[in-house]
């Protein structure tokens, strides 16, 4: 039973950064732009967020700075793909390496610092009064940090935004037929900018969660492809935010399994368990792609 709780808790913590990046990229892709740059946004968010957390011990500042850093990378992606018509994949790659260089450069002093014991600053875990008493699930799901709680709501919020509000419809129209958006009196370019920057902001927050709460430390290139995984998982979700839970926690589960197998010293090569999240994403992508054609935004069909 304790094992199950541990695995679940690990699954949630590991899945949360992915959930943020996934939802962000989903918003961007709904507007017709793939942000492979969420990898870069996550890295910047993780580095800057951690630096701010170390300096100020204030979660709010850490999140804001991480979001800003991620948003800036998102802005670059928006500028390059929307105005300069660059290849979305190539610009995403460039921005990832740019972020990698920048964070290695400015994150030198952050290496080997741990941020444990800073519970007073809103960095620690908060137990939700009644829900955390549920056996097994309670400790795993409802004794988490504030960013995780927000991430529980995030797909729901985006779901309502996309399907139930006028602005969601406009967002999707940009990804389907920008002419219609224009005829309707909105500027598709501006909306795309907003969506891609939003992708960066959310990925940046995901990065903050990862460095400040999940690993409690900064390491060079610590994101290690999670942004790419998030981009792949958007396809797995068929661009539906409500499926983001499943996709992100599938990845989280693969990570949790890795820790579980290590703790119980199961004779499996460490590298197989490390590979598991990537492999699982690939296999899942294979399943969704070979089954019924997913409901892809029109504009992405040229790219994907």
């Amino acid at each position: 039973m304790r094992d199950l709780t541990t695995v679940l808790a690990c699954m949630i913590s590991a899945g949360t950064p992915i959930l943020y990046a996934l939802i962000g990229d989903l918003i961007g892709e709904r507007a017709g732009i793939i942000s492979l740059s969420v990898e870069g946004s996550m890295l910047c968010g993780a580095c800057i967020g951690f630096g701010t957390a170390v300096a100020t011990h204030n979660m709010l500042f850490a999140v804001l700075s991480g979001a800003l850093a991620g948003g800036l990378i998102g802005f670059c992606q928006a500028f390059l793909t929307i105005d300069r018509k660059s290849n979305m994949m190539a610009s995403g790659f460039v921005l990832m390496f740019f972020a990698m260089g920048l964070t290695a450069f400015y994150g030198r002093s952050l290496l080997n610092i741990s941020i444990g014991g800073a519970n007073s600053a809103g960095l620690g875990k908060i137990a939700i009064p009644v829900l955390s008493k549920i056996p097994v699930l309670g400790t795993a799901l409802f004794t988490q940090d504030i960013l995780t709680y927000i991430s529980y709501l995030l797909p729901l919020i985006v779901y309502f935004f996309i399907y139930k509000t006028k602005y969601g419809l406009i967002l999707c129209s940009v990804g389907e037929r920008p002419e219609v958006t224009l005829a309707y009196g909105y500027n598709p370019r501006l909306i795309q900018y907003g969506a891609v920057i939003m992708a960066g902001v959310l990925a940046g927050i995901g990065g903050v969660q990862m460095s400040v709460i999940y690993t409690m430390g900064w390491a060079n290139n610590m994101v290690n492809g999670r942004g790419f995984i998030a981009t792949a998982l958007v396809i797995l979700c068929s661009w539906k935010p409500q499926r983001a839970y499943l996709a992100a926690y599938l990845f989280g589960l693969a990570q949790a399994l890795q820790i579980f197998l290590q703790v119980h010293s199961v004779p499996v090569s460490m590298y197989i368990t490390l590979m598991l999240p990537y492999l699982l994403t690939l296999v899942a992508l294979g399943f969704i792609s070979s089954s019924k054609k997913p409901t892809m935004p029109e504009k992405l069909k040229i790219v994907i």
Binding site: C76, F79, L80, R84, K85, S86, N87, M89, A90, S91, F93, V94, L95, F97, F98, M100, G101, L102, A104, F105, Y106, R108, N220, N221, N224, G225, F228, I229, T231, A232, I235, S269, Y271, I272, L274, M275, Y278, L279, T281, L282, L285, G286, S289, S290, I304
Partner: protein, 357 residues
């Protein structure tokens, strides 16, 4: 009122703005920007961290041009980058994006290292080295084959598939090097057994330079020749131009795409083979890291021209070498040089001509 004044002003203004505009649009000016802007911004970043800008740029310059050894290192990096950029260029010409040069090169390298120390270890040089290079190409194509299978049969996006496969290849190779392939006499280092001596390239001028660079350059010109001057190249260009038109012309688009993708994997694998036969002599963790990714970017930098990719490969290769000596001399992490490389690319993307869609 406003429109009237604007209209009145137009004749005199238009002349000047055209002249200025043509200057700002000219290629030399853009090239200048692509040099000045990154160097300035990177200089500002260095200054912001209290590093001497002048000293750092001096280090960068001298690590590249300061010694024969430095030039040799640049040439070695350029060898890999030319080949990995071709691995990105070939699929791009048939409408695919191969971001998996990294994994294909690594798989080529590990495969070459294994056959070089086992089944090929008795071969004499004139037979052995070509066999080694072919082995690398085979393993690279094999790894690319998985990617293209996923694209063709399962309809998976090839870019994301190959990116994820890069990470997977890293872990597979680490598993092998820490496991079954670990050299028992290697003081527990994660590396394979050294390949046979007669299977190595000679190194010249006291550097690690070898004939690999000529193979790479020849490959670039060969690819250019195939694409532009042969019947097969015509098919490739037709598919790259308009896939539907190619289909109507009776070309089996998928088959050509698959073959080109496999060829791309083979070229990336060749880079890995040259790395083993040339500089390394054995596979170790981290050998040739980021060369595949950088090759992808080198290809993007020159809009998928195989011959121009030689230049961009040399540029990125030189900056990579500079990064390493920067780490030693100034204490900045080697990855910092990526800022400069990416600033160059970002500037090219910003001021370069808009791509025709």
């Amino acid at each position: 009122m406003k429109t009237k004044t604007a209209a009145a002003k137009q004749p005199s203004d238009a002349g000047r703005s055209v002249a200025l505009g043509s200057f700002f649009d000219s290629t030399p000016f853009r090239a200048l920007i692509c040099f000045v802007a990154p160097v300035t911004i990177f200089g500002l970043l260095l200054a912001s961290e209290g590093k001497s800008v002048f000293e750092t740029y001096k280090t960068i310059y001298f690590s590249i041009f300061g010694s024969v050894y430095g030039i040799g290192e640049v040439v070695i990096r350029a060898t890999y980058l030319i080949l990995t950029s071709i691995a990105a260029i070939l699929p791009a010409r048939v409408g695919l994006a191969n971001a998996g040069g990294e994994g294909q090169m690594a798989m080529g390298a590990v495969g070459t290292a294994v056959v070089g120390s086992t089944i090929f270890s008795r071969l004499v040089t004139p037979v052995g080295i070509p066999m080694m290079l072919l082995a690398g190409m085979f393993f690279g194509a094999l790894w690319a084959g998985i990617g293209i299978y996923c694209y063709m049969r399962l309809g998976m996006n090839e870019t994301l598939t190959t990116i994820l496969m890069n990470y997977i290849s890293t872990f597979i190779i680490a598993m092998l090097l820490f496991g079954v392939l670990r050299d028992p006499k290697g003081w527990n280092y994660p590396q394979t057994v050294q390949i046979a001596k007669q299977l190595r390239f000679n190194m010249y001028f006291g550097t690690r330079m070898n004939v690999g660079i000529f193979i790479a350059i020849a490959m670039a010109f060969f690819v250019w020749f195939v694409i532009n001057k042969t019947k097969a190249g015509f098919v490739i260009r037709t598919i790259g131009g308009n896939q539907n038109a190619a289909r109507f012309a009776g070309i089996n688009v998928k088959k050509v795409q698959a073959l080109v993708f496999l060829a791309a994997g083979a070229v990336a694998g060749l880079a890995g083979a040259i790395m083993i036969v040339g500089v390394e002599g054995r596979m170790r963790t981290g050998a040739g890291e980021t060369m595949g990714f950088m090759g992808f970017l080198a290809a993007g930098m020159v809009k998928n021209s195989p011959v121009l990719a030689i230049l961009s490969a040399f540029l990125i290769g030189a900056l990579n070498v500079a990064g390493n000596s920067m780490e030693i001399k100034t204490g900045l992490p080697a990855a910092s040089i990526q800022i400069l490389i990416m600033l160059v690319l970002l500037t090219i993307m910003t001021v370069g001509g808009k791509k025709k869609s």
